[in-house]
Symmetry: C2
Subunit: 229 residues, 2 copies
């Protein structure tokens, strides 16, 4: 197998990383045969030469690369005959825009999912996980749970741009998905695989879009345990 | 003159409408010879057959059309030989995304600029302007002024996606501007032409982008009175 994706996994093999999901969908989009290697949070330091602190990490025919945006750029450049991830330079600008926009959703979604993720990670990861997430989010699990309602409202309001697009067309990218779809889908996978709080309601115009994303590539997004929102 | 743009103007001919600026830049981008017709707030009802309640309104060789997104779509479809406003379907998705994203900035920017716009509009527009803006923003001028600092912080944070893109490339659209640039630029023109509160600081990575937008089409964006941020 020429391409390996090191993919964050819980003890029961939930693939929860929003950034790994971007890469996993991008690999499928580019029709690249690959295998995923499940790693725990504390297992990340064992990848490759030991220099990596985050996933996704991809070993692409001996070439090591991390950071989901850099990986997407490499896949686009090196697999130019496969379907484009960006649809040209304007579509790449869309991905940069969506990336920065999505960054602002990370903390409110994080506060919702992190207490539940704690229960799913391997026991040896607990001390690292709790400390790193408290540092990142600046608060403890009880406080995160206490503001769930407020965070959920904020997230649903902030999803307006995606809602506008997918109310009018099947995917953010148009008739077929682009990397921008996977960037947003990754956020949903992070929550779906770990938390029973639905980020969107059933009657949200984004719900059919989420289902379409889950159907892509023979239901790749449904290939690990997740909550049915 | 085959193409007319009905363009909102203050008593001293400041062209302040963020949506008219989108259209004006789009017409220049498409290299369409046109004239603008200055209209006051209460003058909008006198446009065409009297059915319009908002600008921009364009009369394109006898075809009347309003709503900036619809106008952009028409210009793209009818002037396919001129430079594209979207750069393909992914770029059009970018515009839909930016449109919905920008909508969430309208109220905080509105609260900053509306009290100053009041001083600039024609006297006969004052009652209409004050009432319609109070209804839209749900508050009075004193309260808007009182929360300026907070709104300004919110706006600067919310501009992060644009900041990320233009820190890495000249325009949101890439090496050259696309309609997405004009969508954001319109917000800045709304504020620049009416209010001395700079939406961004001089050392913001967006500042050189704003200057580039102002330079486009022989300095079209500088062609009416405005504040020098």
């Amino acid at each position: 197998m020429a391409v390996l994706l090191y993919d964050l996994a819980t003890a029961d093999d939930r693939r929860l990383s929003p950034f790994c999901w971007r890469t996993r969908m991008a690999l499928a989009h580019k029709q690249i045969a690959h295998e995923t290697v499940a790693v725990s949070f504390t297992g990340i330091r064992g990848i490759g030469d030991g220099s990596y602190r985050r996933v996704p990490v991809v070993c692409d025919e001996g070439y090591w690369i991390d950071e989901s945006s850099a990986i997407a750029d490499r896949l686009e450049a090196t697999r130019s005959n496969a379907p484009s991830l960006f649809g040209g330079s304007a579509g790449r600008a869309l991905s940069v825009f969506v990336d920065a926009w999505a960054t602002r959703l990370m903390m409110p979604i994080g506060r919702i999912v992190v207490p539940d993720i704690h229960k799913l990670v391997a026991a040896e990861d607990h001390p690292y996980f709790e400390q790193s997430r408290r540092t990142w989010l600046g608060t403890n699990y009880d406080a995160m749970r206490a503001q769930r309602g407020e965070d959920l409202e904020r997230i649903r309001r902030a999803l307006a741009p995606v809602r506008s697009i997918v109310a009018a067309q099947p995917f953010i990218g148009g008739e077929t998905p682009l990397y921008a779809d996977y960037q947003v889908f990754g956020l949903f996978q992070w929550a779906r695989t770990t938390c029973d709080v639905a980020l969107i309601e059933r009657d949200d115009p984004m719900h059919p879009w989420l289902e379409r994303c889950l159907d892509l590539y023979d239901g790749l997004g449904r290939s690990c345990p997740a909550y049915d929102w």
